[in-house]
């Protein structure tokens, strides 16, 4: 681990401290703009905003537990094919940073002109639950309380999304800089940890007071991880049992209306033209009638299980577990549970972890001459 500095919080207002930090990033000669979550009017939470002038930081709020979309795809738009326009600094949740790294490996964005800053993540509420958490405004004391509890428990009766409760990577060690919230008093200050040479360089230029590691962050993280991993394994077991055969998988997905919102919200489902949005599966009327005669009846629209299985095959090795699929589902289908459970298996099968290591190639983009002899009955 690299150097550690401290970001002081004044007047018990951590959001203002991070706005100040963003402004200092922007003042750096190499950074041309900052992508950070910004408050929306009303109780809608935050959405990413690209800030190029210091005045734009007034509503920036990277701490609010609102996660309306995964910003990784937004960041690819800002970095893909960009020449020497300077760095875009991005304040991201760890799952957003992982999704972005995964997208860069798939040639959708570029790490070359990005400065990734990842904040320790206590979790976030679903879009449906966020307004309950926000209550009157969701800032000030309620936010401090949420951060101190690292997302544990209920807030105005709302709990963080299940994807967050089962997330085993709540710190973004892959980013250039990490902002350490765990084990720190959010009313006092945070840690800023440099993970890469680019992060180190920026930290030196920012002239922040360097501090020694007192182990408080690692200790808090250890406790949180134990809880989340237990929660995750329970979810894997439950989902595995609920989908153990085709009949049960059908039941599991029965509320799906083929709207493909999960695909639209998925940060790593990057195809410009998804096969399910083409006319490949738009069959002729006689075909539907023939299927209906064969089976007695078919559900319309058809191909619901087929869609989800295909998406599992196409992108489960890239799944970072952000849970936006479930967040986007209008019908409460437990998509995240299914994808995380299967993704854990497929990523293990290829000894790969999505978005964790920028130099590790996605499993389906490479091959070795001698591998997986069990697939071909021992012949390779």
């Amino acid at each position: 681990m690299g150097s550690i500095a401290r970001i002081e919080v004044k007047d018990g207002n951590p959001v203002a401290a991070l706005q100040g930090f963003c402004a200092r990033l922007l003042a750096d000669e190499e950074v041309s703009a900052v992508l950070a979550p910004r408050r929306l009017p009303g109780k809608a939470g935050t959405m990413p905003a690209l800030v190029a002038e210091p005045a734009g930081f007034a509503d920036v709020d990277p701490l609010t537990p609102s996660f309306r979309i995964n910003a990784a795809r937004m960041l690819t738009r800002l970095t893909r094919g960009a020449d020497d326009a300077g760095l875009v600094a991005a304040l991201l949740r760890p799952c957003e940073a992982r999704a972005f790294i995964e997208l860069c490996k798939l040639n959708q964005g570029s790490l070359e002109n990005t400065l990734l800053v990842s904040l320790d993540c206590a979790g976030a509420f679903s879009n449906a639950d966020y307004p309950r958490f926000a209550g009157d405004n969701g800032t000030g004391e309620p936010l401090l309380e949420f951060l101190r509890a690292a997302g544990r428990g209920a807030f105005n009766g709302a709990e963080i999304a299940r994807a967050c409760k089962t997330c085993e990577h709540p710190t973004g060690a892959e980013a250039d800089l990490s902002i350490g919230l765990f084990g720190q008093d959010p009313a006092q200050g945070f840690l800023l940890v440099a993970n890469t040479p680019r992060g180190e360089g920026l930290m030196t230029r920012l002239h922040l007071p360097e501090v020694a590691d007192d182990g408080s962050r690692a200790k808090a993280l250890e406790g949180l991880l134990a809880e989340r991993i237990a929660e995750r394994d329970a979810m894997f077991a439950e989902t595995g049992a609920a989908t153990a055969d085709m009949d049960r998988l059908s039941t599991f997905l029965s509320a799906c209306v083929n709207c493909y919102n999960c695909r639209m919200a998925c940060p790593v489902c990057y195809c410009k033209e998804c096969v399910f949005l083409t006319d490949v599966f738009e069959h002729k009327p006689w075909q539907y009638l023939s299927w209906a005669r064969q089976r007695g009846a078919i559900k319309m629209p058809t191909d619901t299980v087929f869609f989800h299985l295909t998406r599992l095959a196409h992108m489960s090795t890239a799944c970072v577990g952000c849970g936006q699929c479930s967040n986007a589902c209008p019908n409460g289908v437990p998509v995240m549970e299914l994808f995380r459970t299967v993704a854990a298996g497929t990523q293990r099968a290829f000894e790969y972890e999505a978005g964790r290591n920028p130099s590790e190639a996605p499993p389906l983009s490479v091959f070795r001459e001698h591998e997986f002899p069990e697939v071909t009955g021992g012949l390779d």
Partner: protein, 157 residues
């Protein structure tokens, strides 16, 4: 492929419930090797189970997982993918890609109750007509033993 489907009535044990079950196997075969081998097996009048429907692909490297999933969901009892031996791919490395995709499907589909044995990847070169016939016969017998796939009777969504 009528000319290669030399029908052989395999004797099923009388009275067994599976006696009348004839598996439907969809095979995605490479134009440059296995398809040619199938042609050879046919013209050489080798005895083959008639349970396999061949789909000629230009390369096993273009067999997207969704083709296999679609076949299995539509009532195929098993899927065979067969291409060139490692190092022999007409497009240099398509067969290696096919192997990774098959590995992926063998990880995903068994979770949902589809027996891993219903997915098979083999390497059959253009001159190996006998190997093709043997592969088909062995696979058909295996699937016959395994019984019909669940998706045939389920009102799948």
């Amino acid at each position: 492929m009528e000319e290669i489907s030399v029908r052989q009535e395999t004797a099923a044990p009388l009275g067994s419930p599976e006696a009348s079950f004839e598996p439907a196997i969809v095979a995605f075969v490479c134009n440059w090797c296995t398809y040619t081998a199938a042609d050879l097996a046919g013209t050489a009048r080798m005895v083959q189970s008639p349970n396999v429907r061949l789909i000629r692909m230009m390369c096993t490297g273009m067999v997207d997982p969704k083709y296999i999933i679609k076949a299995l969901l539509s009532g195929a009892d098993a899927v065979l993918v067969s291409g060139c031996h490692p190092g022999d791919c007409h497009y240099i490395n398509g067969n290696y890609k096919a192997r990774r995709r098959m590995k992926l499907l063998k990880e995903i589909l068994p979770r949902f109750g589809i027996d891993e044995r219903r997915l098979k990847l083999t390497w059959v070169g253009a001159s190996e007509g006998n190997e093709f016939a043997a592969t088909v016969n062995r696979f058909a017998a295996e699937i016959k033993e395994l019984g019909p796939i669940d998706t045939r009777r389920l009102p799948l969504l």
